[in-house]
């Protein structure tokens, strides 16, 4: 690996580690103290994150939105992060669930989707009685920051940690399958009918060694992807593991490649092992593409990344996220390649040191 690539890798990793944690979140709403609204007077609290309710209390407005928009008559900032809201709703409400909007000059318009249920008795299918036609101001928060998403909050930063693990694994498994195919081609190129002569058979083993090295490093990234994904799932979906096609697919991919390692350990003869594992490796790669990229698109899933290319088109990948996410993918792929490089050089040394080569 060229030293320039190593320097690029190190500086990208540093950039990603710093900025994935440093860039602030844009303001957002985290929740309300009540879960339900009813006709007549409603009083409830709204909680904000990185908001400036007290600072810009002069321009504060709050709205409820169901089928139509209801202006909240009384909005009082208790602190920068807490609002006391009073809202008078008409006798009949047609929307079963309402969203909360808060608006001020500093934070812009921030939004808590599907925050409040309408009390069951109040729902009527007809038109709302007392419509309130206040236009919601839609101010845009202009300062740079990661987008605030309900439930995910700060953990959106995991995009720069968890997702590149899978990209790197894919990259390494791709290297591996290319080496396996190269090994098979080398075997094929012998003059027909003749047995492969000893020397070229041994030189072809270079590709086998590289394929095995790429898989063993790829497995490290696969394990890290599974572990980090599990932690993230615990605090967004409240379970360490969900029966999700994407998650189960990833686990099967882990088992597939783990059995590649097991398969290699069971065969004594170098060339037989190389041939067997090359065939298995090609099968495993095809299975990985099917399990991680094709199959999840046809099944309902909690996991994002179902539209287009996984991960790249998912989330609200706005400029702030992309500025860190793309370098993160590049950095981890370079780092994975570096580890792969070390790994196959070590196995070459192992062979000379333990005298496997005649």
């Amino acid at each position: 690996m060229h030293p320039v690539l190593k320097v690029i890798c190190a500086s990208l990793l540093l950039y990603v580690a710093v900025f994935s944690l440093w860039v602030p979140m844009v303001p957002g709403l985290t929740g309300t103290d009540k879960r339900e609204v009813k006709p007549g007077l409603n009083t409830f609290r709204v909680y904000g994150y990185r908001t400036h309710f007290s600072q810009s209390s002069a321009s504060l407005q709050a709205f409820l939105e169901g089928d139509s928009v209801y202006y909240c008559t009384e909005v009082q900032a208790l602190s920068d992060h807490e609002l006391a809201v009073e809202c008078v709703l008409p006798d009949t409400l047609s929307a079963p669930i309402m969203s909360v909007y808060v608006n001020n000059d500093t934070d812009g318009t921030i939004y808590l989707p599907l925050a409040l249920r309408t009390a069951a008795a109040a729902i009527s299918s007809g038109k709302d009685a007392g419509r309130c036609e206040v236009k919601v101001k839609n101010n845009v928060y202009t300062a740079f920051g990661f987008p605030f998403q309900p439930v995910i909050f700060e953990s959106i930063r995991n995009l720069m940690w968890h997702v590149p693990m899978w990209f790197t694994m894919f990259f390494l498994m791709f290297i591996s399958v290319v080496q396996s195919v190269a090994y098979m081609l080398k075997l094929q190129r012998k003059p027909s009918g003749e047995a492969l002569d000893r020397q070229s058979g041994v030189t072809a083993l270079v590709h086998d060694r590289r394929a095995a090295a790429a898989v063993s490093v790829g497995l490290v990234f696969c394990i890290l992807g599974l572990l980090t994904g599990s932690i993230w799932a615990r605090f967004t979906w409240t379970a360490w593991w969900t029966n999700d096609p994407q998650l189960n697919g990833a686990l099967v991919v882990f088992l597939l490649y783990a059995s590649y390692i097991v398969l290699r350990a069971t065969v004594e003869d170098d060339e037989k092992r190389a041939r067997l594992s090359a065939v298995y490796n090609i099968f495993a790669f095809v299975m990985m593409v099917v399990l991680l990229m094709v199959m999840p698109k046809f099944v309902a899933s909690l996991h994002p990344g179902k539209e287009g290319t996984p991960a790249f088109s998912s989330y609200d990948l706005d400029a702030s996220l992309r500025a860190v996410f793309y370098p993160a993918v590049a950095a981890w792929i370079l780092f994975g390649y570096w580890l792969y490089n070390l790994r196959h050089r070590i196995s070459r040394l192992q062979e000379t040191a333990y005298e496997h080569i005649p």
């Binding site: 580690a17 994935s20 944690l21 979140m25 985290t30 994150y49 995910i152 909050f153 700060e154 953990s155 930063r157 995991n158 940690w161 968890h162 693990m165 063993s216 490093v217 490290v220 394990i223 890290l224 572990l227 980090t228 932690i231 993230w232 605090f235 360490w240 783990a258 390692i261 097991v262 350990a265 580890l339 070390l342 790994r343 070590i346 040394l349 192992q350 040191a353 333990y354």
Partner: protein
Amino acid sequence: MNTFHKIFALCALLCIGIPAFAQFEERMNDVFYSTGKIKVVIAVAAVILLGILAYVWRLDRKVSRIEKSLRKK
């Protein structure tokens, strides 16, 4: 101990860990859900760092073994 044993041991350890995790879930919720879930990011970054370090440790051991066998020759 070959690679297969190691992978098996890892899986076994993970399985043993599951009930222990369950006991601490309540306390963990308080810690991780506070301050906008930033601690989830810290945990994830720490797992990745530890994982990479563990792998480098393994590579280091392989190199030491090679050095040892070369010294014997």
